[in-house]
């Protein structure tokens, strides 16, 4: 690894992110205003108006928070069922050249929930499970709509905060349509073609069977006439025979169109099992850089847009700074830990200067794997370009903490901002308690009801995360899914529920949720955790939006707590870290922390 070059790459990434934040934020202002003007109007406006007409949408009618919430939940439910049935019956649908069977009910449930909630946890295997139709229609529709829904909710919350004594927070239908048509679709279109230029596939061919350059033999289980594996004399291990391999089957499909929105919409569900580490799904370091930038682009721009809407641009940047500080802190831990590598493997003869390369790709190396992993866990994206399960214990710990802080370090599109704003309300509340004044946020008084809503989110999500992990770790079905023993096995379970509740979607992927005996516990509990993680965030947040909207704006006075500048940023970071640490340190101590010390003492499991 070349350290100065790595720092230079980081500087380029940070500079690119800062540079796109303002212009994209200004563009968002036009998109999220239903009368906004964009340079795309000439092309897109007719489609927008046609959509309103076909669907019977009155774009001039705004909704209160209850109407907004119900409409959004209805839309998500319809989409969830749509995908569930496509996955169940993909064998009867077109574009299935590999003849893949329909998914089991619990896997279809898990996957449909996973995509509808913008989690995109991959319980499925991509190329080995999903037909092109399922990917292109059943999954891609959620890549767009769940992202648009996240941005819509954030927009509703910010409108609630910004509007003086209002009864409505926007029109959910125009928000969904405009975000999709003016932002997500055009950017994805260009981005997808750029990705193809780097080597990403976009075709409808069945898998290609190549004649390998060299034939070789692999040991496989010997089967009897009925196809059952033959067992050795002691009846335990299967009899192995050599099989000569002369072909390689290259999975294909319409990938680029799905991957572009998978990154831009912070979805993260891979077209292939290995996600963005697969050379087709992330062919070059340049495609890798663009994918990383596209994950943070909208979450970062939303903070600028927020600052503009509440007429306090410095507040927007203060929130952005809190996100950036937490992001850099996580990156430094992960980068350092992965570059330091694994002393056990180094003792076996692995070059110490190379770092921990298990599960990482050569073209990305240590730094770009660490950077991608930080971004994807911070932003609730969940795409991976390296296998997190094989990260060092402290690298894994930082990944876990990124998710457990509630996915607010830039966070998912929209979800990051509305999650962060709940922490802002909490921080302002704490500051108010400290100085003994009724807390005020941007001229609006925060009452017990608002703080209760915030606490409901924090408690419900933490309880689901820790409760799910606890249940799995004492249950046979939980332990049956593990790929690793010892504390790392516990980390696999903790990671699964952290990812599900945080709607992240990345995994310590050794964990299998689809055991051979068909036990549905993992798929069902993780599916429920994803639903709770989404619903118990967005319903209280839209209620908060309604509550804020109805409040009068008080003029600023000498005693008003300032929500800009360093003091506020430090307070916000402190609130996030403290809540996260108090809630999750015990669990982290049992997993990655203890594993770190065991690794350094050379203990194996």
């Amino acid at each position: 690894m070349h350290a100065p070059l790595a720092w230079f790459q980081f500087a380029l990434y940070a500079a690119a992110l800062v540079l796109i934040t303002k212009p994209l934020g200004l563009f968002l202002e036009q998109v999220l205003d239903r009368d906004g003007k964009t340079w795309l109007d000439r092309i897109v406006k007719p489609f927008e108006q046609l959509t309103y007409r076909v669907c019977g949408i009155d774009p001039t009618k705004e909704q209160g928070w209850i109407g907004y919430t119900f409409a959004l939940l209805t839309f998500s439910t319809v989409g969830l069922l749509f995908t569930y049935f496509i996955l169940r019956f993909q064998d009867h649908l077109p574009l299935n050249p590999q003849g893949l069977p329909g998914l089991s009910p619990h896997l279809a449930f898990n996957t449909a929930v996973s995509f509808a909630t913008n989690t995109n946890w991959q319980s499925y295997g991509g190329e080995s499970t999903m037909s092109y139709f399922s990917q292109m229609v059943g999954l891609t529709i959620h890549n767009f709509t769940s992202a648009a829904a996240g941005i819509a909710i954030a927009a509703a919350l910010v409108r609630g905060i910004a509007r003086p004594a209002a009864s409505t927070i926007g029109n959910v239908w125009t928000d969904l349509v405009r975000v999709t048509y003016y932002l997500l679709l055009p950017v994805s279109l260009v981005f997808a073609l750029v990705l193809v230029s780097q080597g990403m596939i976009q075709n409808f061919q069945p898998s290609i069977v190549a004649k390998t350059m060299q034939s070789y033999t692999i040991p496989v289980a010997k089967t009897d006439a009925a196809g059952h594996p033959e067992l050795s004399a002691d009846g335990k291990s299967p009899v192995l025979v050599d099989r000569t391999v002369t072909t390689q089957t290259l999975a294909q499909g319409p990938m680029a169109s799905q991957v572009a929105i998978k990154m831009l919409g912070t979805n993260g569900g891979g077209f292939f099992n290995a996600n963005a580490s697969h050379p087709y799904e992330n062919p070059t370091p340049l495609s890798n850089f663009l994918q990383m930038l596209s994950i943070f682009a909208i979450p970062s721009a939303l903070t600028y847009w927020m600052g503009r809407k509440v007429k306090n641009q410095r507040h927007g940047w203060a929130v952005w700074s809190a996100m950036a500080v937490l992001f850099v802190a996580g990156l430094l831990v992960i980068w350092w830990a992965e570059a330091a590598g694994n002393p056990i493997h180094q003792g076996l003869g692995v070059a110490a200067t190379d770092g921990n390369l298990e599960g990482k790709e050569t073209r990305f190396g240590i730094f770009n794997s660490a950077l991608f992993a930080t971004i994807t866990t911070a932003a609730s994206c969940g795409a991976v370009n390296a296998m997190h399960d094989s990260f060092t214990p402290l690298g894994g710990l930082a990944l876990l903490f990124n998710m457990q802080t509630g996915e607010v370090i830039f966070g998912g599109v929209g979800a990051g901002l509305y999650g962060m704003l709940t922490f802002v309300v909490l921080a302002v509340f704490i500051a108010g308690l400290m100085v003994g004044r009724t807390p005020e946020y941007l001229g609006k008084k925060i009452h017990a009801y608002d703080v209760k809503l915030v606490m409901l989110i924090l408690v419900a999500l933490s309880a689901t995360l820790l409760g799910g992990t606890a249940w799995a770790s004492v249950s046979p079905w939980g332990q049956a899914g593990l790929n690793n023993a010892g504390p790392h096995g516990f980390s696999e379970m903790l990671y699964a529920y952290s990812s599900a509740v945080g709607n992240n979607g990345s995994a310590f992927a050794g964990l299998t949720a689809n055991p051979a005996d068909g036990d549905p516990h993992w798929n069902l509990t993780l599916g429920l955790a994803m639903l709770i993680g989404r619903l118990l965030a967005i319903v209280p947040i839209l209620a908060l939006a309604g509550s804020f909207a109805g409040k009068k704006v008080l003029p600023a006075s000498a005693g008003t707590f300032k929500v800009e500048g360093v003091t506020f940023t430090v307070l916000l970071i402190g609130t996030i870290v403290l809540v996260g640490a108090l809630t999750f340190l015990p669990a982290l101590a049992m997993g990655p922390v203890v594993e770190h010390f065991l690794m350094n003492s050379g203990t194996l499991f």
């Binding site: 073609l193 169109s257 890798n288 850089f289 692995v350 194996l604």
Partner: protein, 205 residues
Amino acid sequence: MKALLSDIKTSLLLTAVFAVVLCGMYPLVVWAGGQAFFAEKANGSLVVDADGTVRGSALLAQSFTSPRTFHPRPSAAGTGYDASASSGSNLGPTSRNLADSIRERVKAYRLLHGLAADAPVPADAVTASGSGLDPHISVANAHLQMVRVARARALPVDQVRELVERHTDGRGWRVFGEPGVNVLLLNRALDALPSHEGQRAMHPR
């Protein structure tokens, strides 16, 4: 109730419209653009013989075990290098399975390349990649293998070194990522060299 029915109706219609635009038109436009401008890449960057036989993809690793070839990184995809079942090992830092595999691979690597019993081995040579299909090996790994390949093929080391350099993908825009040597393309270039007898005649020693 009326509001709910109206929401359901709008949701169904909007889902249908979105399905047509986002799941029909959008992927087809990307497909058409990809096929028009980057057809070779959109169709998998295939490596094809003169007679049309597909031999693999320039982007996907294949198994090579002969001493006359460069060897790719270990693979955990399916039973190894399975391009229809991409996967990493997902073994953690304190996994005994992983440590055992690495011990075996280090031993085999040192033996094959005549390295000292305590010589450090490039990490990429003994660890599985994330996808199991990593087409590259590190430059350090390639340089160690280069000597063995040259000897097995009775070629001058410099000639093999030149081929290694030609098949090294540098950093993106000289900045991004890490350089790597494309194993499949390199081995193909080696096989394409004139026969050994001809080589010896051209490079008398």
